[in-house]
Symmetry: C2
Subunit: 410 residues, 2 copies
């Protein structure tokens, strides 16, 4: 049953609308906000006055020397940086990056932590991350006092509650309750988000032509992961975590790092391609990590026409292609974006991938999705995290703040 509508929900809804417009498009004049949201000028005045009084928004003073125009100049309003801050954590296989970000989405400070294989064995993940966050806090005490949320990008399978990972390619990360572990230490909400999903949101944002598209973003590298992203609700905001890399490709097939057999990853991740290129048996234990240089050398061999390397990349393309083929039976993305180290090898995988994907009833009748590649994956992840976390803060806390207009008048 949906929520009822009363004056309170109306207020929250419209305040959220204003915040969303500013969050997506940056500072705007009140007139622009009215146009973007569809609310009347009178309402925008009331809302921005209210939020300024609450120090949510500030008027920006900028003498824009560029084209002067007749009429009263517009004053743009934007987020007040000091209202709140959030900590964003990106955990990768061999490093973690902790960022302290202001309410206006500016980066305040950042720490890079290398994560040697036994880091999380020696110090449990919540404790190690706490150390990093405390270091950030020591250097930025003002922002630390107003920290309101912690968001963490992870890889692996989340448990039902989303509090911990039941499996992760990051050594010794699985099994620790990060949500309660960090939540109790800092007394703020903590959210885990799968990296693949952030990648998808970020990739759609990076390429404006994908704004209204339904995008499946496939990461190919040390793991194989996918996120789905679309503008509407449904697959967009509430999208389930996907476990594309561990979708079965061949029953009883190659050994995957997750311990199962026949996963897509066991054919398309870097270690799998390496294994196939060197004719190591497909049931052999996967290599723990493949150095970037080694993977690049393999791509070079493939480009040079080395038969074993070409075969390995073909096999990877085929596995991803059949995964996408099977995906389209459930959900038909308009675009597919290949991202990560594997994106550089896309030309070597392309023919097999497209053949496998095309070998589906849906693709045949509704056409193939457009396929693109994207080299850098770091930026979209961070941006996805920023947008998701500050957007949630806007919707869940800021938009619901009670007004002060009556009080201010009295």
């Amino acid at each position: 049953m949906r929520a009822i509508g009363d004056s309170d929900s109306m207020r929250r809804q419209n305040r959220a609308l204003v915040l969303e417009a500013l969050r997506t498009l940056g500072p705007q004049s009140r007139t622009q906000i009215a146009g973007l949201t569809g609310l009347s000028h009178a309402s925008i005045t009331a809302i921005t006055q209210d939020m300024s009084a609450q120090e949510v928004l500030v008027e920006l003073e900028e003498t824009r020397a560029d084209f002067k125009t007749r009429g009263r100049p517009a004053t743009r309003v934007g987020f007040a940086r000091a209202l709140a801050s959030v900590v964003l954590v990106e955990i990768e296989v061999a490093r973690a990056r902790l960022s302290l970000v202001g309410y206006d989405a500016t980066l305040v400070d950042r720490i890079e932590m290398p994560l040697p294989p036994r880091a999380f064995q020696e110090t449990a993940p919540p404790a190690l991350l706490e150390q990093g966050i405390r270091r950030l806090f020591d250097r930025n005490q003002r922002e630390a006092a107003r920290m309101r949320r912690i968001a963490i990008s992870v890889q692996g399978i989340l448990d039902a509650a989303g509090h911990s990972l039941t499996w992760s390619p990051v050594p010794h990360l699985a099994g620790h309750d990060l949500v309660n572990g960090l939540g109790s230490r800092f007394d703020v909400p903590v959210e885990l988000t799968k990296r693949g999903r952030l990648l998808a949101e970020g990739a759609r944002w990076l390429d404006p032509s994908l704004k209204d598209a339904e995008v499946a973003t496939v990461f190919v590298g040390a793991t194989v992961a996918m996120g789905l992203s679309a503008s509407g609700p449904g697959f967009g905001r509430d999208a389930r975590a996907t476990e594309f890399g561990h979708m079965n490709h061949v029953p009883g097939g190659a050994l995957c790092r997750c311990g199962m057999q026949g996963c897509i990853e066991a054919y398309a991740a870097d270690y799998a391609i390496l294994r196939a290129a060197y004719s190591v048996p497909e049931k052999a234990t996967p290599a723990p990590a493949v150095p970037a240089a080694e993977f690049d050398a393999l791509i070079a061999r493939g480009q040079a026409g080395d038969r074993a390397a070409v075969h390995a990349f073909n096999q990877a393309g085929r596995a991803i292609g059949y995964g996408l083929n099977r995906l389209t039976a459930l959900f038909r993305p308009s675009h597919v974006v290949i991202v990560g180290p594997g994106a550089r090898a896309y030309p070597l995988m392309r023919l097999e991938l497209e053949a496998a994907l095309g070998n589906s009833l849906v693709a045949r009748h509704s056409g193939m999705p457009q396929i693109r590649t994207l080299k850098d994956e770091g930026e979209p992840i961070f941006h996805g995290l920023v947008l998701q976390t500050l957007g949630a803060l806007d919707r869940e806390e800021i938009a619901g703040m009670p007004g002060v207009r009556g009080a201010a008048a009295g």
Copy 2:
């Protein structure tokens, strides 16, 4: 960008809430409605008065002889039958059923049309369906005058706009624009919905314990189809059509009725099981239709332990199981419901199906979904159509009707 909140949207929202409660749970007293929706008694009075004046709702007069209680007796309000009517069409492979249904969801009249294989070749689908609807209209002129929507349950692949099928197991149905074809003839909105989806909604409704579950309903019979249904938004209302039956199972495998190779259907539909049981080559052209008696005989043979039959059913279970296995990499249903003629053969498929499904990383870490069977598939489809169509009418037209209270008072 979402919709703004003004008093109009508030009104629509709350009226929709009342209608939804009545639609889901049947006639209720005003006090009950207040409890269900969370609105105050005062608001419910206003809303029901308004809607009664508009002949949307009526007070039911019923002397309920069962337990009398102290206090003023409650008068229940329900939908006014005469406000509107809808035509619901269920197109199956060999027959079509047309139902005229009142706004209070009661069946007014119904026509069954047999569909011999060449029916849609001799008379184009929109024309043939028009004939049937006109016959219903002749017999029920009062309701005909107030018919507001046509909804059609179909099987096959919908085009992007949802106006026609690009492929269908129903002979000669694909390629005809049913939405515009019937829409222009009757001047009402026409909607096509995939049968699998309705089946899922209906199955969740039939079993109250599934109310808050995330259900994947798999039809096994002349085709293999799946619908996903959950209570929230996302997969619930806006769920994409799934093409589960034509998800690839074995690359280059058995010949499917759709013309592709290796679809799940080519291993698990009735014709596929028959083919395997009689050791017909798997690339042989599928039988156009399998009589129910023949399929039942096959089940009996399987139950008796006939090796070929058992093998055929095992293979079907394995295909469905790997399909579900792959599904869980993208979306994890809490329950799976097997429905249709194949549900009777579930005991023969069960071991292989569960083994295949269990062979997935997600099932291993998050547990297996619960699997049930449901024998009758006709009722959920019809009920799903009723609920979907009248619910859309409620939300899109009735809830938005302007009020009459001011006018009535003056």
